[in-house]
């Protein structure tokens, strides 16, 4: 079997894989490994799809994907129409994925720069480790990620939470800032938000929140964070989005986070190992198929 057929099969297999993973609940027990698996799956999809297209296009050279590309650069002629079309499609897919990532990154950086500039004109500092406060009655707490991340809360948040709950929220946001979760999310947000991609994005976003929740729990009881979450989600807001997040049977992402805080499930070591091995195979598989010489 030639490598492009295997790459095509792998590319197709990642789709039901993503569907399954977007519905999985076991990932909530080990959100970090869940995120790793999502990253591996995304990478595998990209590498396999591009590799399959290029591999088919270059199959007349009989040299595999990578070596086929070298052969192409030496001798551009001799490809039939089908093969040229596949070559174009592969290049276009690679180009647009990279282009979308760059564009998305550019937009995010610009939005953050504007946000930071506004904060420096408006927000006041609190005693809590440089946390910024915006004078607005609604509850909000977030992190502006960057080289020097900023944690921001609204005056409404100070009203809503007691001191310990607020500490739990700040610890959660510091985890986002320290671990640069925005960079983890960026490749997923750069894709068009439809169908399976949208469901994958929701799943990854939720796992990232759970990772930050876990981090915030390290030096406090889970009740404080759970109460803060519940207060936040039920606080009155004029800006509640009309479209709900993907409806989870358990009652939404906030309920999912609260339930796992209050009733932590065991984390079987074999599940973690299996997920890690899958992530390694998913990443190394398509790479290996790229360099196979036929």
């Amino acid at each position: 079997m030639t490598s492009w057929v295997a790459l095509a099969a792998l590319s197709l297999a990642t789709l039901p894989g993503a569907e399954l993973l977007s519905r999985a609940r076991w990932t909530w027990r080990t959100p970090r490994i869940g995120i790793l698996l999502w990253q591996a799956l995304g990478l595998a999809w990209g590498l396999a799809t591009i590799g399959a297209l290029l591999g088919f296009a270059l199959s007349p050279y009989g040299a595999g994907v990578l070596h086929g590309l070298f052969a192409l650069s030496e001798d551009g002629s001799g490809l039939g129409l089908h093969h040229k079309a596949a070559l174009l499609a592969g290049m276009a897919l690679a180009g647009s994925l990279i282009g979308m990532l760059l564009l998305s990154g550019f937009r995010v950086v610009r939005a953050r720069a504007r946000h930071r500039a506004l904060l420096s004109l408006i927000a006041r500092r609190t005693g809590r480790g440089g946390t910024l406060v915006v004078d607005h009655p609604e509850a909000a707490a977030y992190c502006v990620p960057g080289m020097r991340s900023k944690i921001v809360i609204s005056a409404g948040t100070l009203e809503l939470l007691d001191s310990r709950e607020l500490d739990a929220v700040l610890a959660h946001e510091h985890a986002h800032a320290r671990e640069r979760h925005d960079l983890v999310l960026l490749p997923f947000t750069s894709l068009p938000r439809i169908g399976l991609v949208a469901r994958s994005l929701d799943a990854v976003a939720l796992l990232i929140e759970m990772t930050a929740d876990d981090r915030a729990l390290q030096d406090r009881p889970p009740r404080e964070l759970a109460k803060a979450l519940l207060r936040f989600a039920t606080a009155p807001s004029a800006a509640t989005p009309s479209c709900a997040l993907s409806a989870l049977p358990e009652g939404g992402p906030v309920m999912a986070r609260v339930q796992r805080l209050l009733n932590p499930a065991p984390r079987p070591a074999w599940v973690q190992s299996a997920a890690l091995v899958s992530a390694v195979l998913l990443t190394s598989g398509p790479l290996l198929l790229w360099v196979l010489p036929h």
Binding site: R112, L121, I122, E209, L230, R231, A239, A244, G251, M255
Partner: protein, 116 residues
Amino acid sequence: MKGLGELERAVMEVLWAREAPATAREVGRALADRDLAHTTVMTVLDRLAKKGFLARERDGRAWSYRPADTREGYVAELMLGALALSGDRDAALAHFARSVTGDEAAALRRVLEDLE
């Protein structure tokens, strides 16, 4: 010496507090206790105008500045970004949680009552 950011903030405060547009000289006078050089005030105003926070028009030989939006307008802009209109799905900001409504909110309230 305090940073430029802090000066920008002070200048915006002056202009937000005024009803009418102000020239660099008038802003400098309002901040007289800081004893700023005229060129410093001009630099800060120029920076703020380039960032789009101030609008300016000719007033004789000098520029006259006014805020492009009210303070409340900017607070609203910040909160719009912060209040999940773009949501947890946006990589620009990382939100703690967004508020929900209806059955979901009712279910969450029950859990909160049990905890308290």
